[in-house]
């Protein structure tokens, strides 16, 4: 048992490999699209996945950025005036994501990322809406 425990803590090292990620800041609401030209329709496949999990009917993209992260070189991506993420490539398809809200570290998450899967950091916003930072690997 102890051996297994310690074995699980030993990080697996791999050679440096760039990891391409797409980061989207998405806003979820049950209301219709506001008259804001900055808001775009979210990719239907992403919106459908979000609808499967969350209660909001409509999802709009506030910002989308592509980022390539190399092992050992974390990158910060500004998603909005108040929201920033820092992504680190840990190798072996693992990433560490730090989410900053108004400059303060709100959450840190380490996760294996798979090409067909989404990693979503999210929270409530005012007026029964929600924000989502959706991380995915762009389809090649």
């Amino acid at each position: 048992m102890a051996v297994l425990f310690f074995a699980s803590q030993v990080p697996v090292q791999s050679g440096p490999a760039d990891l391409s990620l797409q980061a989207q800041l998405v806003w979820g609401t049950n209301k219709e699209k506001p008259d804001d030209p900055k808001l775009k329709e979210v990719d239907p496949s992403v919106a459908e996945k979000l609808r499967k999990v969350f209660k909001w009917k409509n999802y709009f993209e506030v910002n989308k950025q592509n980022v390539t992260v190399t092992v050992g070189s974390p990158k910060k991506v500004k998603m909005s005036d108040h929201c920033e993420i820092e992504v680190q490539n840990l190798g072996s398809a693992s990433i560490e994501v730090k989410l900053y809200g108004k400059g303060k570290l709100a959450v840190r998450k380490t996760q294996k990322i798979h090409p067909t899967e989404l990693l979503v950091l999210a929270g409530d916003d005012k007026d029964d809406t929600a924000w989502f930072v959706v991380l995915s690997q762009p389809q090649k």
Binding site: F6, V53, K104, L119
Partner: protein, 161 residues
């Protein structure tokens, strides 16, 4: 007019909860007592209405997310001292947990020391590829995975009311 106890018997009869002898007694009562018979009829109709028209409640979110939020709320409520519950004496077996707790803490400490430098500051490892930390006191988070949506979610709760 039948008393409350008899009303309960009639209800139990309808629900099939009585022994054979009790059921026969209730049947006998209903043959001779119009009130008991009327109550039985009323309950039977109500039950058929409920069975046929029960309101279907659909979760607004995925079950994983819905129950994760409830679990989180319960955990938060339990961790908040309300001053109402009386302190209870620890059970006798808790004294055996203390040495186990020390060993566990030591194991965690050694494991953290053995980690590579870039992993410094790590606290909770669910497995070798999944960790989560919420450093701000005014925020909390929980993580769950939705197989249906092929998605891992970290929900950040800022405790806004």
């Amino acid at each position: 007019m039948i008393n409350h106890q008899t009303q309960l018997k009639v209800q139990a009869y309808l629900d099939g909860e009585l022994s054979a002898g009790e059921a026969r007694a209730v049947e006998e009562l209903m043959r001779s007592d119009a009130d008991a018979q009327a109550l039985h009829q009323e309950l039977r109709i109500a039950r058929s209405f409920l069975a046929g028209n029960e309101l279907e409640r659909k979760l607004p979110e995925s079950p994983e997310f819905y129950w994760s939020k409830i679990r989180r709320q319960i955990e938060r409520a339990e961790s908040t001292p309300d001053g109402l519950s009386e302190p209870t004496a620890p059970p006798w077996w808790s004294r055996f947990l203390a040495p186990a707790g020390v060993l566990g803490a030591l194991a965690v400490f050694v494991a953290l020391v053995l980690r590579s430098p870039q992993d410094g500051g790590t606290f909770l490892a669910l497995d070798d590829s999944h960790e989560i930390e919420t450093p701000l006191e005014e925020t909390s988070s929980f993580s769950f995975r939705s197989e249906a949506a092929a998605m891992t979610v970290v929900w950040v709760d800022s405790h806004r009311e």
